[in-house]
Symmetry: C2
Subunit: 497 residues, 2 copies
Amino acid sequence: MKNAYDRFITMTREIRQLGTVAELLAWDQETYMPKKGIALRAEQLSTMASVAHERLSSDEFGTLLRQLDEDIDDPVRATNIREMRRFYDRAVRVPAELVARIAKTTTLAKEAWVKAREASDFALFAPHLKELFELKRQMADCIGYQGERYDALLDEFEPGMTTAMVADIFASLRKPLADFVQRLADAPNQPDASIVRRHYPRAAQEAFGRRLAEAIGFDFDAGRLDVSTHPFCSGAGPLDVRMTARYYEDYVNASIFGILHETGHGLYEQGQSIEHCGTPTGAYVSLGIHESQSRLWENMVGRSRAFWEKFYPECQAAFPDALTDTSLDAFHGAINCVGPSCIRVEADEVTYNLHIVLRFEIERALLDRRLDVKDVPDAWNEKMRTLLGITPANTAEGCLQDIHWSLGAIGYFPTYALGNLYAAQMFEAATEAVPDLEGAIRRGDTGVLLSWLRENVHAHGMRYRAAELIERVSGRPLSIEPFMNYIERKFAPIYDL
Amino acid sequence: MKNAYDRFITMTREIRQLGTVAELLAWDQETYMPKKGIALRAEQLSTMASVAHERLSSDEFGTLLRQLDEDIDDPVRATNIREMRRFYDRAVRVPAELVARIAKTTTLAKEAWVKAREASDFALFAPHLKELFELKRQMADCIGYQGERYDALLDEFEPGMTTAMVADIFASLRKPLADFVQRLADAPNQPDASIVRRHYPRAAQEAFGRRLAEAIGFDFDAGRLDVSTHPFCSGAGPLDVRMTARYYEDYVNASIFGILHETGHGLYEQGQSIEHCGTPTGAYVSLGIHESQSRLWENMVGRSRAFWEKFYPECQAAFPDALTDTSLDAFHGAINCVGPSCIRVEADEVTYNLHIVLRFEIERALLDRRLDVKDVPDAWNEKMRTLLGITPANTAEGCLQDIHWSLGAIGYFPTYALGNLYAAQMFEAATEAVPDLEGAIRRGDTGVLLSWLRENVHAHGMRYRAAELIERVSGRPLSIEPFMNYIERKFAPIYDL
């Protein structure tokens, strides 16, 4: 059995390496690729995908997986076999012809989405969306599911999570969160949001952003920070992590909190085991857990008053024209403004989850055929009114705002809100476990928090599924309580609740 | 047969795409990769190489090649089939075990070479070199050859070229070139080399280098210019060409002529057919022909007086402190200093070929066992005395200076000198074909030359082997005459011969 396992690991690493190469191609496309290179890049990515798929779904790999027993004492082996079996099953269950149809449909759908959003004309996108949901239904049926069809899609991004669990969590979040947003709107003190919209020179933003990433532990010998239109973090392994940021001279949040967010992802990647690199034991658990790391550093740490007690003097020195006469409290308020808005990616950390609840409810209903594609704009607007009390002026800032569906990413949105909830529950556990964590953050000593995350989250790779990991870390199942407590405690002093 | 050919082209393109991905990985390694990423990168490259090798040497591809007849009227098909058969044959004839042994040996050899060169101690490198030559002998025997063993190695880099042809050409070059170097050394006028060693600010070098690349036709929407320790040009296809340069503030030649050189390579890549991208019809002929394009733009154009009549005023404006009081003639002399030196990569365009003759003679003798590895330093020094009249102070600036052998690149060096000779012969033909080419260059209108090269060289891809291409372009077989005439005409006025 030793030889079969070794061969299995070699093949597993190769499959992952092909994936990391594709990630580098995607990174290059967003950062340095000359613009005329796009057609060739699409072909390279398609070739890489087919090569990786070929190896993953090969008879040899399938035979190895059948020979190996995941029900063994060694947690490393058990994890690797269990997770690669999951990848393999997903790969072989969907016929190549359906994969190709989805790829072709998403290419056209993405083009149509770009035009539809520009024209704010949902009808241009609707037929593509309809076809995509039809194909995704077929895909889900190929993969199989125990509860409902949406499970099979959700599982791609959040392994082990069920639609019923998400629906329960989101149902319990809906009302308290909408009420909280209303309380903030009615609160006596409203912070001055214009502070972050003064003039912040780009070069100073780049230097200060890099300083913050380094300060919270990002190793620039094992990673980079570049510029792209849409910020992202892609990791080829703990020793080569690529993050990007964007810079607006009239809106400093985009770089500061964009960089803290991506650095959260980056720290998770850099915290993976070098020994197990390329295998599930050295890989992230789920998109939700990944997002929990970015949100924890962006919001729980990066938007805390304690953090800025340390860094605000440096921030003032970096942007003297904008901030010399602004107090720490005023700045802290400005970076914590909460209010209903139409665009998810611009939403604050409180209303953000409501944007996700809305998307989850709509895509689940579409998949179940309880909602018709043509009725999406109306359903969207109605939910916006219920959840946030506002109505988008048009579909461009309504149901056409996100690229995800056009890419076939259905079942992806919930991971964003799960990330916020995981983050709050982890941060609560860390606050209990690390003596005077707030004091440490106040002194800029975030290393204690990073060490705790490394030990309790990063080091496990995929050993535990998200639900299990959260329970191990915090001693109880995922709930909305830590998140609700966190926002109550944080926003009460800012808004004078 | 239609379907077999289509499938053959699809597989050919995939194989090439995997190669271009590996090139991008190598480019990234030299430009942006964080330093701790090196181990993973080595694994990625090794996986990419094995995936590409698998596809190239697959039964399916072999069967297709057997079904297809290259002896057909359609030159595109004939070229693609002939060249892919050549790649296939080379791939299947060498056993995987030998490929792996060579890969392992070169990894160790490269490490040993780095240390040996640092310590200037040939004994540290000698056992590795001995083993490499032994393995390369085995490889040559697997591949097969008609004349001598060296043919099989040379053919990798310069398809169709034979050792006997190279030996003839180099034998005829040896004496006249050494004599010419002596004549220049004895000439009444010696240009002032110190001009190019004044202070040239880096930012101005970057801007001016980019300006020159653009001026001679490089399309920056289809390529990039970055920084690396060793300049290179790598092309994934005509629409994504990556060049690099290096900058020394006390030696402006490194950037100006480095960039013109790489731009020559880049223009060749950008001149390949978009329609035939990924197939031999859209690929470079040989390393020698590739080098001819870089040398033609670097030396025949870029070091000509006509070129600087156009660009010297801009150059003075870019570097006012260094050049305001320096005449065009003095600058033109400074960039055309000729003299014996020990290091190949620093050699001028006249002595350069002698460095190559020396390497060719030594590696050919090593492969034939007419020379023993332990005697390489003595053989090297003796040839340096005969050819250039100087003796290296140590092996670091003697036989340990180049990385090539440590990488297993034996049979590669001749392509550099062949490139110089091809370039001179092509430039002579262009001068005859294009009315008043020198006048056009004087006006900065190098587009007429580029068009001529596009039509007569670039557009053919691999349709003609180098020897045939040269004969088609110039009307006669390769000879040293155009090169000797070129240097005579060029250096006579500079040195007052």
